[in-house]
Structure formats: structure tokens, C-alpha cells
Symmetry: D2
Subunit: 385 residues, 4 copies
């Protein structure tokens, strides 16, 4: 008789009042009942941090004013946090993660991992040295049909990959929203908090990650045209680029936050010698699979046609739509499996899959290459591996 | 500073091993963090019931062999359950709910409410007498765009309703799955456990409920053609019917579990004098709104065009799809608001909305009218109100 | 070396100024270059008739004041018309067709064929006696993917048919357009010109025809709820009905001209034991084909997956959309093949397929059954065969 | 009373047996009854040319062995051709067009206009000198919703254009079809007949033209990655590029003939400051129009929301799909209006719109810039204007 593993005690840095992604992480952690949210340092303002913790039902003594206090306070408790979710603006990711690792905590960090590749490398070294689990929430890899697509490519079902088209189009920054006091817009368009990349870092990295995740191919170089479309904006809000992959595939990537009428239009298309795959995040429960010379098929999550890699990370029968939170929860639950194995001193389960610090580093390398290319008139620029 | 209400202690009857809907209820209860699942009588077999509870992490003493034991055991605890979810086959709904009400517990019961209208009436009387909250999980009413649609109709934005087309098409019973040992199919096609209705009760009631919920109109009579399409099946697996509404609207309803290629195709279309609304459960984040003489609009959840009634029950920005679990969770969270108010001796919040026992009774009245009509060669048959 | 058959000389009755369908017939006849439009009696007003003919480039002597004059005039010419298209309001169909047949002309007649079944029967007898080709423009049967669907069913690829859902929803009569002077609306809502059926005859017959054409099954009885939704309208503008087919299949039919937001929403779904087929007229170049246990496929016109029955009546490669006119032209071109064979004294080509007077009679029998059922409170009413 | 203009006498060069586009041109010319096809030199083989003419119903004396013979023969006739459609492989376009112009004939020439920009310039000079009408069949500009989109942009309804994404994806050259004897594939992949561009010329030029047509903006430079994906192929079958527009807009263009599962996927998206437009050729009857802060609208051809620029070039009511042939016919009919005006010595009607030799030249300049960029490692390369 299987007894479930006890829930992992989770702390959170960032994600208090006015934040969007903090609530997402908390629901994602809760959805499959693998975590218990027990402590937080939820804002860069001590007062707001404590207030946010209380508002979320944390006891006063675990509603910390800042993350050093949280790490110190929890370390003293027998029931202290085991893992920490870092959901701050980008510039805090690395110092907070370094502190967590130093305290022996597992880390689940939002993307982009850092504000520079050099900073990310330092963190990666620390993570490797710590032996702790380190996940980066490229959450779109949690969608079952994304995993189905990846598995098809890996199994050779589309032949050699020839062309990869990926795009991520939004419209929420079509105006200078950052001047309205909207917090999400304010930090994302501020180089001091977001780092050198705007849309490129916020959504371009997701697109890049998805393209590599599904195609199983590494992008070796990019030719990138970056633009701050909205007058007065400091960071890019639109990026177009050409991609070259290691084994010869070519691609295009478009990331935009000024595409009026697009809400969260992440879309991936991968064409191989013998089949093509098309997936849209806004209709995530199906994947269009076209084999050469056959009628395209609409493969749905949890149907008889879904592969085990998809079926394993789905909760509901076909036609009962799962969405963004479920995919995000899958990342959390996969990390939980890894942490449980770690605690038991066991090897990671062979099928566990979540984006790790290596993927976080790839994202930073991509950002830096794209920016360098953008500054050199879209010259082909290698992505450091 | 708002302090969140403490989580409601939830017990569950049914929903153990092999069940589908039990897990759904548990996730739905957990998603918004308004409930704590603390006790269960999860199967009609005592052994399986206890085993299921343990497997879900319940302590042994709250993994009960049957629901009378659970109700008795919890009543003795200071931290006993406050509400119970009933997710058994249909024939157990009423006795279990009666027992819960008698013990002063709030009830969240799956649909159809009962195996007969008479039985449902008895329960309704008990519920009224108890003063407890009683919800019936017509979960599709939890979708934000369904609420948007209902609010539009209620606000007069489509004019007088003329035509309502609703359908719910699945294909999972296209073969005699019930003979394969599949538990879900087995009880749903067995009159002893499902009651007199097959597809009609399982999904037809959802379609009926959705049509009334959105249109704001009562169906007064039905002309129904019922069929057990698959040879040897005892209960209907396909139902077609004509609908007449109180204020003159006409409609069609189709419920089928033999529509090969349809997974969970619940679809509602409401046409008024000045606008038409179309919604599909499998793409639940948008609603097609067509005003006379204008181009149809695709209104999405959480967009600027979404009404407050939709925005209030959504968690994510537009383009980040929510799905079945989120809608289900909304029902649970609305019930939680009602229970919290009840505990405080306060009136229900004016905007709280969940399907109650009245809607559960409507469903039973619909089933009985449809069956009577089906037996009389589709003669128009009134729905008892 | 093949020399093409000379073009068939075509006359037209009705279809002058302000008409919609006359222009459609003329383009359809011209598209594949199998006809030459040479004479017309294009309106019930002599002056308008002549003016319309001249405006279309007919010479004055072949722009006739009325159809008896046309038939008489053309009979005197060595190069007189061989076939006549009848595109008048419904009440003129039969007298005009009778006159054409009596003059030895082939007839292409719009639907519904007549204003009563009795009238249609008289015409059918005349047509049979004449030995001439008689087509009724149930034009939707000209779509390649409709033919693909029919061929699949006929080949047993979906197993025994269980359920047929067909609908035809428009919104152009959502208001009393007939009072605005709009000619199309005026005659269609006038019993004196349209006959006893409104939407039922105008579009319901198309839906009925399509259901029988694709399913290969005869509808034996209907239970119909007919309604004039818009106050003051004399004929039905909304019809809902249940269908029973000869070999046991059940169905639903909905025809409406008050479904706000629907332009020309003809949609057919046929579910058999082993597969389901779904087709939408507004996206006519594809057919959704779902086999039990497999992912649904989107079969497109002119793709490798298209059957010969579809490929034979298509003109363009896949992805180059064909539309309404092309499907209509296919009916004309099939009739042309029949006329050419007739002229040669040869048998009809075995694969020629167009809706004939038998289908026209079925449509009238359907209308009368539906109206009788509607008048008897939706009692099941047999369709006379 | 309006009398229609007499039909224009049309000859054709190319387009005989085995050709695809010849038949399209003939149907397009015939559809609106503005042309009469009277003479042809339909193949580069004299025998095949004559045979093809006879098979199409041309008299023997107007079924010419080659185009010089046709031009000479027709010049001697009082009823000789007035306009010629040139539908040969690319390398014949310019010499044939030169000969037609020299004979005083109007020309409708397929795209790409030439095999080099220099050659195109010579032709443009000849055309200008001749005073004759010269059209290039960028046929996708004939779609009503494309014209609607262009008119919206021109009217300032989307604000300043920021981003243009255009793609044209097919899969028919995913294998070495050119080795199978398929004639269309053979010449398109042969530099001697196709010129220096493969997919770039065949479909990339359409995408480029569409982007400029709708956006009203000139592309000033491209950074292009060209690839012959299929081993052994001499010309590109996949092209990705970045675009910069004169007034600052940025864009991406992807043209591919190896995108497995795509039939004729031409898709344009234009995002301005205040609205976004999206159009797909495979569903051409609608345009998605999203205004900032409003729900996206699906504007359909011939609906009340369609602009006059769309309504003017449509034949059918909404919901009755028009397709590729109708759009192509619109180009022909617009050219007919121009020729009629020319014959009358009148000015062109102010609203007449068809792609002219200037657009043909733009296409050649685009091809050459893209190839130069491709050869210089995707360096930004100016398009000569």
C-alpha cells in the first residue's frame, strides 16, 4: 500500500501584494498537494512583506520582513522550509538563490535566471556545489502536448528537424503602461530591475526554451533585430530573429509585447523531413500532427493517441480542458519528485523532467547573444554554451 | 488588514480508487486554498475505503470504512468536518446527503441529485429544514465566460431570448465499455446505481442546467427521443429533444455518449432579438458575441471586455488558459464564501453564485419529464417545477 | 485527341434585377465553360425582364418579356436554348418547368421544387414522361468534401449510422426585413409566393437533403416545432425537429433565420459505429473525420487523403480554397455531362451525380410532413416517399 | 439603361496540358464574363501547343504553335486578341511580354515578373512606352478581406504600423518531387527556367507583395537566410528573413515549401499602434480585427462591417464562401475595367486596383536583395526601388 510522501515545506521570496506570478506559484505548488506553503518574504518592503504573509494566512512569525530573515529564521526551526520559490523581479533572482543554496535549500526560481550570463554562471557553480535541486520555471514545458511533441521528435517520428518557427506575441505593453503605476509593467521595462532585456527576457526566453525543448536541437546562433517600439521605452518590446540550429535546422523567432489583439500567443511549429507539429499555448490541449502525405491529425491530451509522456502529466480525461496552472503545477510536482528522491538519497526517477539551471543558463546565453546581435545590426552571433 | 478565513474542514463520501470525479473534487477544493481535506469514506467497500484514505494521506482514524462511521466519528471531534462532498454513484447521493444534513453538515453533492424526483424532494425538504448550505456540482456554471454570458442576458444585452441550442456530445460509450470492467462505465450504465437515466442524467442534466443558467429562462416542456444506441445497453446513450421555454423561446438539446470523435463537447448557443452568444466548453476561455449588424466579437476571460461577473471568478490574465479544474474550483470557492457567511451568522454575499438544491431538483424534474416523453413517443411533457 | 463538347445553350427564367440567385446560376453555368447563356425571361414584369436581359448582354430579340414568349421564341431558332434554369420565387417553379418540359427542354430548377407535394408529383410525372434531364439545385451536394463524406459512409467506413445532426442557421431575417422593400425577404416570407414554408423551405430543405445525401439513409418521420419568431411574420423563421431514419438512426435538425451572428451556418455531423464526420459549409474545404480510438483528422479537398469522389469535382490544389460558386458549378457541370450523354443517346455516365427531381420531391414531402407535425404539436409524422 | 461592355478578346501564352495556373487564369477570366478566350500558344512544344488549344475548344487556326505565331496571326484578324495572359515558366515572361507589347497588346503576366531585376526594368520601360495596360497576377490582393485590411490601414484605423509578420508555408516540395516527372516541380526547381529563386520567387514574392499591399509601407531592407533544405535541390525551398520598413516598422517573412502539413498557408499579420489585423488565405472570408482594449472582431466579407473596398469586389452574401478563383477573377475584372477605359480613351476609374508592373518590379528587387543578403550571411541588404 502506497503512502504518499509528506508534503514539502515551501517558502517564497517575492510574490506579495500586486504580484501576478506569486499567486500562480502558490496555486501550482498546491494543486497536486505535494507542497505546503509555510513561510514568506514576499516583498522588498518589510512592511508589505509581513502584511502580504499575514494576508495569505501565514503566521506572524513566518511572515518575514526580508529573505535573509526568512532563511535565518527557518533554519532554526525543526519544521523549517525545505525549498524556496523565488518570484521577484529579475535582479533579485541570483542573490536570493545564492542565499538559499548556501542554507541548503532547494530552489525553484523564476526566469530569466539572472540579469547577466556571468551572474548566472556563478549561480550555476554554487548550485552544482550545493547538491540541491534547482529548477527554473520555464513553465510551458509542463504542458502535456508540449511533452508529447518533444517525445515525438525524440523518437524520430518527424525525421530530421528542418525548420522551427516559434513566436510569443502579447499586446499588454502596446502603450506606456509602465507610466500608469502598473507594477508588472514598471519593473519589466526598467533595466535596473529587469536586466538588459525587455520582451526578449520576459517572453523571448520562453519561446527560445520551448523551441529547444521540443526540437531537441540546440540553437547555435541568432541574427536579431531588437526594437523599443513604444516611444520612450528603454527596453525592447519587440524582437525578431533568425535562428540556426546545430544540426542544420533553421528557424525564426518573434517575441512581441505590442502585437495588438494577442493576449499570450506562444506558438511553436516544428517541421521535420516526414512530419510537422504545431502547438498553440492558448489552445494547449491539442497538438496538430501532420505526417507527409496524410491528413493532419488533432491529437488531444489524454486521448488514446496521446503518448505516455503526455499522459503521465495530465489529470483529467480528454475534453476536460487543462490550462496554464495545471502545466505550471506539473513543473512543481516534477520538482517535488526530485526533492523526495534527494531526501531519500535516491537517484532521480528516470522520467522526471523539469527545466533546470542548465536551461536557465541557456536562456541567459540566448539573451546576451540576441542583444549583441541586435547591437551589431543583426549580425549572426553565437550563443555561448 | 484582511486575514483570510480559516480553511473549511472537508470530508468526502465516495471518490476513492478508480474514481475520476473524486480527485477532481479534491483538487477543486484545494485550488483556492479555502478547504482542508481531513476525512473520508471513499468507497462502498470498507477495505477499499480505508486504503484509499491512507493512500491520500489521511490519518488512519479519519479513513473511515463507511459514511455513517465518518459522520459519527467526525461528530466527536472538535476539529471534525464542517462540510462533506458526496461523489458516489447516483443512488447513494440522497441517503448520504440526508445523513450529513442530519448531522448538521454542509453538503456539496454531485449531480444528478438523486435517482428520482420524489427522492430529491425529500432531500430538499431536509436541506431546507437544516439551514445548511447545499450545493450541487453543476460545475460548468463556474466558467467565467458562462457567467459573462448569463450576465449579458440578464442585463438585456441580447434582447428577449428566442432560441437556445445546447448539446453535450461525448464518445466514450460508443462501444460496450461497461463490459470491459471500466468502473465509470459500469455504474453509469446500470439502472441500479445510475437511476433511470444514462446519458440523460450524466450529461444531459449539465446541458439542461447550462441552458437555464445562461438564458435565465425556465424550460417548461420537452419532447424527447431517447435511445440506447449500443446493442445490449440498458440505459439511454443518446437523447435528442425539443425544448419550450416559459416566455416563448424554443430550443433543441442533444446529449450523446456515442458521438465518435467528440470528447466532452458541451456547447451552448443562445440567440436573442439583438444578439447571439456561443460558447464551447472545450475552448472555455472565450465567448463569441454577435450583435445584430456588427461583426462577431471574441470576448475572452480577463480581457478588458470581460464583465465583472466573469472577472470576479478568474485567476489569471487573458491568454493564460484556465480550464475545467478552475471552473470546478470556483464552485467550491463560492460555496466556501457561503459557508463562511453561515458560520458568521451573516447573510450570503449578494454576488455569491453556485448551483443549489433547487437546481438539483430541476435536473431531476428534467430527467423525469424527458423519460416520460421518451416513453410516449416524444409527446410534449411538462417539467414539474 | 479529345475535342470538348460544344457548350450547352442555356436560357433562364427569373433572376433579373435585384435577384441574388440568378447571378449565382449564371456564374455557376459559366465557370467550367460547359454552358452558353443565350436567352432569358428574367422577371415577372415584362419591362424589367427585357431590361435585365439587355443589361446582361443578351440581344434584344432573346431578352423576352415572359417565359412563354421565351419558350416559343427559342423553339423557332436553330440555335435555340437546350436547357433552362428556373430561378423564380417558388410558386412559379412548377408552371415554368412544365412549360419547358413540354417544349422538350432540359430543366435546372431551384429548390424547393414546388409549393406543394401534389404539385411536385404532377411535375415529376411530366418530367418522367419527357425523358429530359431534370435537376434541382441542392447545390451543397456539389462540395467535394460533402461527396467525400457520402462516399465514406457508402463504403462502410463509419459503420452503421447512429446519429445525424444537421443545422442551417442564418440571421438575415432577425428583423422584419420584408417590410423594408428587400425583395429577397419579401417573397420568401409571403405564402403566396413562397408556399407554406418559410425557413423550412428556404434552408430546411437544404439541411434535410444534405443529411440524406451524406448518410445515405432515408428520414422516415419527423417531430417538428415550427415558429414565426419575429412578430407579424406569416411563415416560420425557426424550425427545430427530431428525425428518425429508416434503419434506426436518430437525428436532430435545426433551421433558423433568426440566429443572430450566423451568416450561412449549414453544418452536418454524422456519427456511425466506428467513425464520426463533421462538415461546415462556411469552411467547406475540409472534413473532420474521427475514427474510434484515433486522433481526429482534418481531411482537405485535393489532398492525398481526399477520395476520388471529391477529387473528381475539384479544380484547384489543396489550400487554394474553393467555395460556394465552385460547388454550384459542379452541379451545373454534372448536369452538362448528363445532357451531353442524352444528346448522344448514350447512358448517363455511371459516376455522374446531381440532385434530381426525386430529391426535389423528397424535399416537398419533408416540408409537408414538418408542417403537419408542427400543426399537431410536434407529433411524429411520416414523410411520404 | 446600362449595356455591358463587350467582352475582351483574350489570348494565352503557356498554360496548356499539365499546367495548373493556365486553367486558373482561364476560369478567372471567364468568371465575371468580362473576357472571351479566343487564341492560344499554350506550350513551348508546337505540337502540344496546338493539341492543348483544340482540347480547350479553340479553333485550329487560333491554336498556334508558338507565341510569335499567335501574335502575328492575331494581328491580321479584325477580331484578334486585345489582351494576352502569360502563364509560362518564369524565363519566358519577359520575351513574351515584350513581343505582346510591341504588338500593341495589353498584358496580364504571372509572377515573378522576370528572372532578373535588370530584365524586369527593360520590360517596364517597354510597358511604359507602349501605353498598354500591364498587370502582374499577385492574385492574393484580389481577396475582399485583403482589400478591407489595406483600406483600414490607409484610413489610419490601426495607427502607425509597427510590426508586420507574413508567412507563406507549403509542403509540396518536402521531397524531391522534381525527380518524379511532376512538371510543376520540375521547372520551379530548375534555375534555367525559374531564375535564381525557388520558394523565394514562387511564394516569397506573394508574401512580400501582400505585406506591402496591406501595410501601405515599403520594405527598405532585408536580412535573409536562404536554404535548399532537401538534399540535391539547386534552388531555395525555405527562406526566413527580417524586414525593415521605410517608416520604421519591423517585420518577419517566412516562405517555405517544406513545411509538412501546410498546404497553402499564406498568412499576414499587421500590428499598428491602435489595432492589429490578421488574415489567413486558407480561410479568406474573414479578417480578425483587434482594437486596443476591445474584444477582437471577426469581420466577414459582405457583412455589414465590411468596407466598401471589400464589398465592391465580392459576389455573394456573407457565409457563402468565396475562394481563390474569385479573388483571381477580381484581378482579371479590374484589369478589364482598365482596358475598357483605355479603349475608350478615358482615364482609369479612380477605384480600379490591380497589381501592375511596378509591383512586378518590386518583387524582382525583393528577390535580388534577398538572394544577395542570403549570400552574405544574412547581412541587411537594401531593396532597390
Amino acid at each position: 500500500m502506497s503512502v504518499p510522501a509528506p508534503r514539502i515545506r515551501l517558502g517564497m521570496i517575492g510574490g506579495g501584494e500586486d504580484a501576478f506570478i506569486g499567486a500562480v506559484h502558490r496555486i501550482a505548488a498546491r494543486l497536486d498537494d505535494r507542497y505546503e506553503f509555510v513561510a514568506g518574504a514576499l516583498s522588498s518592503s518589510a512592511e508589505k512583506s509581513i502584511r502580504s504573509g499575514l494576508a495569505l494566512g501565514l503566521p506572524r512569525e513566518r511572515s518575514y520582513p526580508d529573505y535573509p530573515a526568512m532563511i535565518a529564521g527557518e533554519a532554526k526551526r525543526a519544521d523549517g522550509v525545505e525549498a524556496v520559490a523565488i518570484v521577484t523581479p529579475n535582479h533579485v533572482h541570483v542573490p536570493a538563490a545564492q542565499a538559499c543554496l548556501a542554507a541548503g535549500l532547494h530552489v525553484i526560481c523564476d526566469k530569466p535566471l539572472a540579469v547577466s550570463l556571468a551572474e548566472a554562471r556563478g549561480l550555476a557553480a554554487a548550485a552544482a556545489g550545493s547538491g540541491r535541486i534547482f529548477a527554473v520555471t520555464y513553465n510551458y514545458t509542463g504542458y502535456p502536448m508540449v511533452r508529447h511533441a518533444r517525445a515525438m521528435v525524440a523518437a524520430g517520428e518527424i525525421g530530421r528537424v528542418r525548420v522551427v518557427q516559434v513566436e510569443y506575441a502579447q499586446d499588454w505593453l502596446s502603450t506606456r503602461l509602465e507610466e500608469s503605476g502598473q507594477k508588472q509593467a514598471a519593473w519589466r521595462t526598467d533595466p535596473a530591475r529587469s536586466g538588459p532585456a525587455g520582451a526578449l527576457g520576459d517572453i523571448g526566453t520562453h519561446a527560445f526554451n520551448l523551441a529547444e525543448f521540443v526540437s531537441g536541437e540546440r540553437v547555435v546562433s541568432v541574427a536579431c533585430d531588437l526594437q523599443a517600439t513604444v516611444p520612450g521605452r528603454q527596453l525592447d518590446d519587440n524582437a525578431q530573429m533568425l535562428l540556426r540550429f546545430r544540426r542544420g535546422a533553421r528557424g525564426g523567432l518573434w517575441a512581441s509585447q505590442v502585437a495588438v489583439g494577442r493576449e499570450n500567443g506562444l506558438c511553436l511549429r516544428v517541421y521535420g523531413e516526414t512530419a510537422g507539429l504545431e502547438w498553440r499555448q492558448e489552445e494547449p490541449n491539442s497538438l496538430r500532427v501532420s505526417r507527409l502525405g496524410e491528413a493532419p491529425r488533432v491529437v488531444t491530451r489524454a486521448s488514446a493517441a496521446a503518448r505516455p509522456e503526455a499522459a503521465r502529466v495530465t489529470r483529467l480525461p480528454g475534453g476536460h480542458p487543462e490550462g496554464y496552472l495545471e502545466a505550471f503545477a506539473t513543473i512543481y510536482s516534477e520538482v517535488a519528485r526530485a526533492i523526495v528522491a534527494h531526501k531519500a538519497g535516491a537517484a532521480l526517477p528516470s522520467d522526471v523532467s523539469f527545466p533546470d539551471i542548465g536551461e536557465g543558463m541557456r536562456g541567459m546565453a540566448f539573451i546576451e547573444a540576441a542583444i549583441r546581435s541586435g547591437r551589431s545590426d543583426a549580425r549572426w552571433t553565437e550563443i555561448e554554451s
